[in-house]
């Protein structure tokens, strides 16, 4: 039997090679289908990994509170509506909600940063020291500022790696240097460890952190002291996050004197939710690719079935001869099944190559990470085998059921 199968595969390959164009066209569906499966899974896996890394880098236990985009029409004055979150909110949350280990706050502006004769526009954030620990920033040089710096609004700054690269020569020591923002001299006391891009493609290292008080009193020139753009909170354990979110909403609503029925004037987001949005995008794409893959595999299967039916008709006499010299039904059946599977497996191989190329291209062009695992390749390959087997079954059976005399007499 092994000899039979082996020789039948050799024959099938020979027939395939003889009809290269026809075989190629037939395999197109399989090639695209398998390619799409591979591209789909590797893009999905890549996105999943990014999300997991993101959660790990941001901390699964981080909660972010933003002022809500929803307008509370006419309830407050035009000026009042700008002040939705305050330092007092952040401190009160910490005081009233025991599961919160820390709360921090920030305020951001894009400003020009000057070092000697160089300048660079970057995102300047006034933050509380707790913000730095919640966001889990670490330092490649120097260190963070302290509560004392906050209290006395010291003129110090922490630079992201991108800012350092733009403002300093390679090898030049940034620590101790004095930079100017809106003509205010700030001494560099730390350089943040690089974080790279976030899932939205923003450079997280293009940032300058200064004490919140320094920012609002000496650099930004804020009208309303104590207003913040974002409050960050953290819990000890990731499991406490949903409970903490509920408490935060309660406290915030009572602090903002919202009556029941009035919508929140703030938004509470957890890191997990934010990354889920991102994951959702890649899921949409995955679903799209899955549809392409299944349609292509189906069309490919039909193509194989069609070409095999043609082949069975063309070779009716040959089938008759084979039966006359002693081929049993199973032999004929296997011959055409093996032919179908050879088509689909060769198509599958090409599809694997095509899929890997597509995944690589996605990484190069869209900048999405992709992961090609051995499992994926094996699965895609299995798919093509099954398609060949399934769609080969009908023509193979048709061939096996031919009457030898009629087959021999076929013109």
């Amino acid at each position: 039997m092994a000899t039979f199968v082996w020789l039948t595969i050799v024959t099938a390959l020979r027939i395939l090679q003889r009809n290269r164009l026809r075989a190629g066209l037939t395999m197109l569906g399989i090639i695209i289908g398998v390619g799409a499966v591979i591209a789909m899974v590797s893009i999905g896996e890549g996105a999943k990994q990014v999300v997991h890394e993101q959660i790990a880098s941001m901390g699964a236990n981080v909660i972010i509170i933003w002022p809500s985009a929803a307008n509370v029409g006419g309830v407050r004055g035009a000026q009042g509506s700008a002040i939705k979150l305050t330092v007092a909110d952040a401190m009160d949350l910490k005081r009233k909600i025991p599961v919160l280990t820390e709360t921090g706050w920030s305020k951001r502006d894009v400003l020009q940063i000057v070092n000697a004769h160089r300048n660079w526009n970057s995102s300047v954030m006034g933050v509380s020291p707790s913000f730095i620990s919640i966001r889990d920033w670490s330092f490649s040089r120097g260190g963070s500022f302290t509560q004392a710096d906050m209290d006395s609004a010291t003129l110090v700054a922490l630079l992201g790696q991108t800012v350092v690269d733009e403002l300093f020569d390679p090898g030049e020591e940034p620590i101790g240097a004095v930079i100017r923002i809106k003509n205010v001299p700030l001494r560099v006391i730390g350089v943040l460890s690089p974080k790279g891009q976030n899932t939205y493609g923003q450079d997280q290292d293009d940032v300058v952190l200064i004490p919140f008080t320094t920012a609002e009193r000496k650099v930004f020139g804020t009208l309303f002291l104590g207003s913040v753009q974002g409050i960050y909170a953290s819990t000890e354990r990731a499991e406490d996050v949903p409970e903490a979110v509920e408490y935060i909403r309660e406290v915030m609503r009572s602090r903002h004197r919202l009556r029941s029925g009035q919508p929140d004037d703030f938004t509470v987001r957890t890191q997990v939710e934010i990354t889920q949005v991102q994951e959702g995008t890649s899921e949409t794409l995955t679903v799209m690719l899955m549809i392409i893959a299944s349609v292509s595999l189906f069309v490919g299967g039909i193509g194989i079935m069609n070409i095999l039916l043609v082949s069975v008709t063309e070779r009716t006499r040959e089938i008759g001869v084979r039966m006359a010299v002693g081929a049993k039904r199973l032999h004929i059946m296997m011959q055409f099944l093996i032919e179908a599977m050879t088509l689909s497996v060769v198509g599958g191989c090409m599809g694997v190559i095509f899929g890997i190329l597509a995944a690589r291209l996605t990484t190069v062009i869209a900048g999405w990470p992709t992961i090609i695992s051995g499992d994926t390749v094996v699965t895609a390959f299995g798919f093509s085998l099954v398609v060949g087997l399934f769609f080969g079954l009908y023509p193979a059976n048709k061939a096996a059921r031919l009457n030898p005399i009629e087959a021999l007499r076929y013109e």
Binding site: T3, E318, R322, M323, A324, G326, A327, K328, I405
Partner: protein, 232 residues
């Protein structure tokens, strides 16, 4: 000793719609191991029908057919395939070689379904090709061979399994006189080696190579006699 072929009151009835065609009508014949029989008769008399039944490609509608003592009439398709593979070799008028496939591989075909090793298949097929005078042509495809050579490949394919029965339905029908003569010489040689041969032909001088001549008319045997042309 049991005869190789024992047909008793064989009927073959085809039904096309309401029309009934009686291709064989109660035909009985016995053929011993080692005979060389020519079957003759007008077109449509039922010769090919009889050959198909004798060759286990088809089964009689009624009647008994025993091949080597085994009743063939009620066997399943795969069992018939097994018998064809083990005991019978076919030679057709239109050669019926597999296209674009070498002479050697064509001759190997019955062995392929026996599941022999490739080495054994090749050795036996080469020997069969040598026997029909085609050594050196193993790797020629049918289109690279003359009609007579193609028919010799077909004979090699038929005898590669050392069958006890070789059936040839108008084997020289598509060949010129010279090639026909060569084919008949080969068949005579095979018969001398003990293979039973049944041959359908329209030509009297071809039939003369056989030792026994059966004439069929309207699905029945009209005459059955030993020929003068060649004695056993």
């Amino acid at each position: 000793m049991i005869p190789l072929i024992a047909c008793d009151d064989i009927w073959k009835i085809y039904r096309i719609g309401d029309v009934e065609v009686q291709a064989l009508r109660g035909l009985s014949v016995t053929i011993e191991q080692g005979e060389f029989v020519a079957i003759m008769g007008a077109s449509g008399s039922g010769k090919s029908t009889l050959m198909n039944i004798l060759g286990c490609l088809d089964q009689p509608t009624k009647g008994q057919y025993q091949l080597g003592g085994v009743e063939v009439g009620r066997l399943q398709p795969d069992q018939l395939a097994e018998i064809r593979n083990q005991k019978i070799g076919f030679v057709f008028q239109s050669f019926n070689l597999i296209a674009r496939t070498s002479a050697l591989e064509n001759a190997q075909l019955p062995l392929f379904y026996r599941g022999l090793s490739l080495k054994k298949q090749r050795a036996l097929a080469s020997a069969a090709l040598e026997r029909v005078g085609l050594s050196g042509r193993e790797h020629h495809t049918p289109t690279q061979l003359s009609g007579g050579q193609q028919q010799r490949v077909a004979i090699a394919r038929a005898l590669v399994t050392s069958p006890s029965l070789l059936l040839a339905d108008e084997p020289t029908g598509n060949l010129d006189t010279q090639s026909s003569h060569e084919i008949m010489t080969i068949l005579e040689g095979l018969n001398r080696d003990g293979i039973t041969i049944i041959l359908v032909t329209h030509e009297v001088d071809i039939a003369a190579h056989a030792a026994r001549e059966i004439v069929i008319k309207d699905g029945q045997i009209l005459s059955d006699r030993a020929t003068q042309g060649r004695s056993q």
